[in-house]
Amino acid sequence: MSSPNYDSACLPDLLPLYYRRLFPFSQYYRWLNYGGVQKNYFQNREFSFTLKDDIYVRYQSFSTQAELEKEMLKMNPYKIDIGAIYSHRPNQHNTVKSGTFHALEKELVFDIDMTDYDDVRSCCSAADICCKCWILMTIAIRILDRALRDDFGFQQLLWVYSGRRGVHCWVCDEAARKLSVAARSAVAEYLSLVKGGDETVKKVVLTDPIHPFIRESLTLVERYFPRYALQEQDILGCKESVDKVLALMPEDVRKELQQDFQNEKKPENRWKLVKDQAKRKQGTSKKGQYFEKEIMLQYCYPRLDVNVSKGVNHLLKSPFSVHPKTGRISVPMDLKELETFDPFAVPTISQICEELDRPRTGEDEEKSEDAKEKENEKDAAERRKIRDYKRTSLAKYVKYFDQFLDGLARSWKGELLKKSDLQKDF
């Protein structure tokens, strides 16, 4: 899904411009510094850059925002990944005694990738997406966001569009950042319902009693299932896809439905027949009694890449990094507008760089401001960057990021107060 106005050959020319005038460094630093509550939190954070020709540089770290800016302008990374906070500065990892350098903390992260849904979407495959299958991401976000907040009690969740075919979630609560590997994997497994690889046909099996978490998730899935599965993917339309659905049912039900479907072609009505069968089954037998729920979950439930969530030291693509294939910026997503989020409307680097060249509106106003700014050269450059992204379609995403950071800041304000109180005691 490369976008019409983006050509990956232009990337080397566009990146310097993007990093110099558009990348929201101050917000970025504000996020990863976490209010400076813990010493060296930003300084010991690993960044890794992918440079031209897929050259991969790990263990980058920076002592200040200025240093980060300088290095990024120098190296012009095609892609930026964020890693863990380590026991020592990552760029000095070779100088410390072996065995003492290890990852301590990181946000709890989730990676959902559309390629993992290939067996249940007929519109596209592999790296391709369209608005028909994008609903899967909407469902995934709804379900995980609810569970992470209500069940696990996390509050600082940053959802990010990956720039191509998926979404990422950064859980930034202090408790989440401190989770052990075992705890991360337990959370990820709690959230995983679809199990098994290509060698498994039936990937969701429910047992009695149905856990409250699964009930809540089902309620959400039910909201989207008719539109997504029955209409847009038409899973009960052609014979091939009907067979795939039937394969997930107990044998006796399958036979009956095969008969019934001969006289009934409309997908909605066919699904109603399935539900009727399920109701009957629940009255009679324990085995396979939840098959219609299992089918809904197999088609719609989020598929997590568990390994990404498990490791403390696992790297994940950074927000505001450019996706080199599509040119789209990896932007934070405002869940208030989730239903209308359109991945194809996310700006590409070429688009926002072009927008910079458009004539300014309200030029006069800015001139008087410019006069004041001359007092401090560095300040002026900083402010110009702020205004620069405001003139592009990146603005609304940065604005949302700002809101997220304000919420995050409230959480560490308490921490800072406690600390300063302690100091006064002495």
């Binding site: 993992d116 696990f152 009690g153 709690y190 679809v194 290509d198």
Partner: protein, 513 residues
């Protein structure tokens, strides 16, 4: 032989106290003097017990009746405590309950010394000790459980009736052990979810706003979590004081050997490097590969690609049967470039990981091929993956089809599926071996894909080459001990003779295991 009676006179009060309950938290190390022979014997016996636990965990559902029965009889045979109602006031044959508890205590601490040295060893040791503890705690009578909590000062917060009321339905639906009737009278403990990860992982507890609500029957989870945390901390501390222990030339070779015994053969040393040519692989995969590797090979040939999990499992297996780094690079490249990956992309994105497997990149660990245990228990396959154990991770129906394609007889297939149904995945694989090699009963116990390969080559009449290969891993086991005693010098001559005997005993034990 006089030791036991003489020692009993010096038992301090605290020690009698320590052995007053069938289960302990191993909070205090033993303080008595013991002789070297007892030291060795205790350690070897506990290692056997832990090894049994590891094997049982793969073949049976943990805490199922068969699992418990097997563990009972193994504990009995090795003279470890296994009956919570045992009491020295009742007459019994064999060692007294006191002796058994003492053995349990001391042997646990000896293995701590041997298993604190690396991350891998610690993880293995903690896992088996936790499983042992779970089994023992589960066997206790309810009053004994309470007494145990009391003795060890374990207090957890319960929720009030008012707090319970609105959660009633959710609590009932979150656990098999809670019903509408029992929920009123049951105590529920409210703890942070981080303290009950096993229940969270399996969704067997109600979780709200970061707290889990655990019914009294499941309290073992929190106790286990405590046990695991304490043991893990204790091992880290033990590791720090290890240099002092290592300066004792009698103990160091012994401890080294103990810690090397747990993995069994690791199939990492190949004398056969380069003896297999790349065009043999297709035919070998049909004849001598276990099903998991055959499946990986086939999907690699079909898709010209394997995802990370598959590349690791299959790549290390191939390394184990004797592919050199150069061959491996050629093998993977020639297959991948027939798919979507061009040679340039392969060199950039995949060649690194092949070199990594051979210890030429990153932290330069020379990775060893995965054992069945690792294949079965870690990193289960997900969408697009072909790795894992087909007897564990494939659906019976698909497994059946696959076996049909591979021309296994219908009666053979049903025997295999029966074993799979009972969770005896390794036995199922062994059955597959017997059927495909026309052997009545294989005289080995399968626990490694590379072992399958070697045994297959042997059965198919491979000559000298194969013989040499079976010798190699054996030697690798003895190496660490030999090195250790060499460093200790001649003064350790006496102990090293005893050690050699034990080495033999241990080796023969783990060859059988």
């Amino acid at each position: 032989m006089q030791f036991p009676s003489r020692r009993r006179k010096f038992i301090t009060n605290s020690q009698t106290e320590l052995y007053g309950h069938p289960l302990q938290f191993y909070g205090q190390p033993p303080l008595e003097n013991i002789c070297l022979t007892e030291f060795e014997a205790f350690a070897v016996d506990r290692l056997k017990l832990l090894k049994t636990i590891e094997n049982l965990g793969v073949s049976y559902v943990k805490l199922s009746d068969l699992y418990k029965k097997k563990l009972d009889s193994e504990s009995k045979a090795l003279n470890f405590p296994y009956r919570p109602d045992a009491d020295d006031r009742k007459p019994q044959a064999g060692p007294s309950e006191y002796e058994k508890r003492r053995k349990d205590h001391i042997s646990h601490f000896i293995l701590r010394l041997a298993y604190c040295q690396t991350e891998d060893l610690r993880r293995w040791f903690i896992q088996q000790e936790v499983d042992l503890f779970r089994y023992r705690f589960n066997e206790l009578y309810p009053p004994q459980k309470l007494e145990f909590l009391h003795r060890n000062n374990l207090q957890y917060d319960t929720i009030s009736a008012e707090e319970k009321k609105p959660l009633r339905d959710k609590l009932v639906n979150s656990s098999y052990t809670v019903s509408g009737i029992t929920v009123e009278e049951q105590d529920f403990y409210k703890v942070p979810f981080q303290d009950a990860l096993d229940l969270v992982r399996t969704r067997k507890v109600y979780l709200k706003a970061g707290y889990v609500y655990i019914p009294h029957q499941d309290i073992v989870t929190i106790v286990l979590n405590d046990f695991r945390t304490r043991l893990s901390k204790a091992l880290a501390l033990t590791a720090r004081s290890l240099p002092a222990v290592h300066s004792d030339e009698r103990l160091q070779p012994l401890l080294n050997h103990l810690s090397h015994a747990y993995v069994g053969q690791d199939y990492s040393i190949q004398k056969n490097v380069g003896k297999i040519s790349l065009d043999q692989i297709d035919s070998l995969s049909g004849k001598s590969f276990p099903l998991c590797m055959r499946q990986l090979h086939q999907s690699l040939r079909e898709n010209h690609h394997l995802r990370h999990g598959g590349r690791m499992q299959y790549g290390l297996f191939l390394k184990g049967i004797g592919l050199s780094l150069e061959q491996a690079l050629q093998f993977w490249r020639s297959e991948f470039i027939r798919g979507k990956v061009d040679a340039d992309k392969f060199d950039k994105a995949y060649a690194y990981s092949v070199r990594h497997m051979f210890g030429k990149e990153g932290k330069r660990t020379d990775y060893t091929p995965y054992s069945c245990m690792k294949v079965i228990l870690s990193n289960p396959p997900s969408q697009g993956d072909h790795h894992g154990c087909p007897f564990r991770h494939s659906e019976p129906e698909l497994l059946k089809q696959k076996l049909q394609v591979y021309k296994v007889s219908p009666s053979g297939i049903s025997q295999i599926l029966e074993l799979v149904k009972g969770m005896h995945v390794q036995l199922a694989c062994q059955k597959y071996f017997e059927l495909t090699h026309n052997i009545e009963e294989a005289n080995f116990s399968l626990n490694h894909p590379n072992q399958y390969f070697i045994e297959s080559q042997k059965a198919l009449g491979g000559g000298k080459d194969v013989k040499r290969e079976t010798d190699a891993p054996h030697k690798s086991q003895e190496n660490p001990a030999a090195k250790g005693s060499g460093a200790a010098g001649e003064s350790a001559a006496n102990t090293s003779q005893g050690l050699a005997e034990m080495t033999e005993e241990l080796d023969s034990y783990f060859q059988d295991a």
